[in-house]
Amino acid sequence: MADTKLFINGEWVAAQSGETFATFAPSTGEKIADVAKAGREDAQKAVEAARRAFDDGPWAKMSGKERAERLRKVGELINARSAEIAEIEARDGGGTIKKAMFADVPGAVGTFNTFADLAESSPDEVDRGESPFPPAKSTVRYEPFGVCSGIVPWNFPFLMAGWKIAPAIAAGNTVVLKPASFTSLSAIEMVKAVEEADIPPGVVNLVTGPGGSAGEELAQHPLVDKVAFTGSTEVGRRIMQLASGTVKKVTLELGGKSANIVCDDADLDLAAAGVLWGTFFHNGQVCESGTRALVHRAIYDEFVGLLVERAAKIVIGDNMDMNTDQGPLVAPSQVDTTERYVKLGLDEGAKLLCGGSKPTDLAAGLDPSAYYLPTIFEADNSMKIAQEEIFGPVLCVIPVDSDDEAIKIANDSIYGLGGGVWSKNVERAHTIAASMRTGTVWVNDYHMITPTQPFGGYKQSGIGRELGDYGFNEYRQIKHVWQNTATDRSGYLHFSALSGNI
């Protein structure tokens, strides 16, 4: 990696302290690069640059069409380097190269293109009609908020960077992005594309560094108007408190403990594959992972048999190999967390059906401390492993006797991010979906997210929505312009009626 600096006001600069931190390939433990370690002062400079670019620069004044052209250019530039960026993404974060090539990079391109379309097609002004008395005309204007902070996690670093940058700048805002420290490298590549796409200096800024200093500053700085965050619920609460000092708009996409309901009329073959995909994709390090499978008792034994049989077919190994389904977790500390929960599950009496340890026969050169086997427990919903988000490859299977019981258990969580229903009866599936208190429900599928449709959480899974027109409007202020159309004082009776003879 040549450039591991901060990007502030259109220039690549070292951290003021001169400090860096190392980033490692999780699969081997090998150091990949030294990354600039931004402190509080660097974050302040980035915010100030974004403020100047918003207040004095051309970006907020451009038409949606002009902004759209530049967003599409970002997408083209990323596409042209997709294989290279996918390799950086997979190597740095430990996700499989398949995930990077099929989901992360094209997903980010799709995000830039979708918000380009929205910037172009969404009117800045809407006529809201006339008032009969006094004679007046109402117009609603959609305007950018100003400076937006975007703070993203390590599980989908490139895609999440796109989810924060694209809608913000499409709507005319400027942005400061802070990637996760485990995975800063691919965001640097995205910002290079932004730089090359003729987007003015200061519109997109990048600070890499710790949340305790740089992140805190981005959440509380008085010149920031909006904070968008994806990550843990606890950090989301911290961001809300920091942002409250100057009443910033906040959107949060947080944790989950999502349920996959398998009805007795489901296509069991498909549902088993779907439940495994819903849990073990990216080692369960996905906010909406379906980590609780609620399975009707009539098909329970057969279904659990399928799950265990199929889990053994998940190929674990080098994440840079196209044959690998499941690579390392993001860091050995994430494996420690997973191990801790497996022990808690056993202590509470959960029945281990498969997995429950690190793999013992990895290929030479891979770091065994970073890997964990797909693990399936038969559990009770009151157990810690069924209530707390592990963020590792652990599935809890829970038998249920009815749809009502399944819904009740699915909703018995502080979270409400995602969920799935598997049934051949579409009407039944949609009835269950309507009762689930979550921001997304997949019917006979899981994990599928498109840049054109909203994504977000109920309860402690978040505030607001990302993607699509719903997500776009989270980056647009609403201004009501009232114009009195009277030609003389007869249209201003409220002056005298309410305030005397002024």
Binding site: P106, P210, E216, A219, S232, D321, N323, S357, E388
Partner: protein, 144 residues
């Protein structure tokens, strides 16, 4: 639920106390990338249903009601600190450190022996070959 801390955790708190002017508080929170973990914040309101469940280095540790219910009685939860990159906004991230939860002995928990689920044969054949072409079925698949 009762939470204690290691000496190393207490020393890390002491450093934070020197660097920060506000009141420090630990909160045990949950969700997403951090899983359930301790967070050290300055001037933080732990929440309407949070109660103190211990103290580390003179700083109170708060936990919300639903977590306390999951860990009834004294479950021996220990806050320790390790040298590691962390993604939260906890103060120690600034020092390249990370507060973690451990068991009562203050040792990392060791997982159980593997009980079933054979490792796929393909694992042994894996070699690092770098990025390759997508499978034919996926080549045309793009979101746009």
């Amino acid at each position: 639920m009762k939470v204690t801390g290691t000496e190393a955790a207490a020393r890390a708190v002491e450093r934070a106390r020197r660097d920060r002017t506000g009141a420090l508080v630990f909160t045990i929170g949950t969700g997403c990338c951090e899983s359930t973990a301790p967070f050290l914040y300055e001037d933080f309101w732990p929440g309407p249903d949070a109660e103190a469940v211990g103290e580390v280095g003179g700083v109170a540790v708060y936990a919300p009601a639903y977590l306390r219910a999951l860990y009834p009685g004294d479950d021996g939860v220990v806050i320790d600190v390790i040298d590691d990159v962390a993604e939260s906004m906890s103060i120690e991230t600034e020092y390249g450190r990370r507060f973690v939860l451990r068991d009562a002995a203050g040792q990392p928990v060791v997982g159980p022996a593997r009980q079933s689920c054979e490792v796929p044969e393909a694992v042994s054949a894996l070699r690092s070959r770098g990025p390759q072409e997508l499978p034919a079925a996926l080549r045309r698949a793009r979101m746009r």
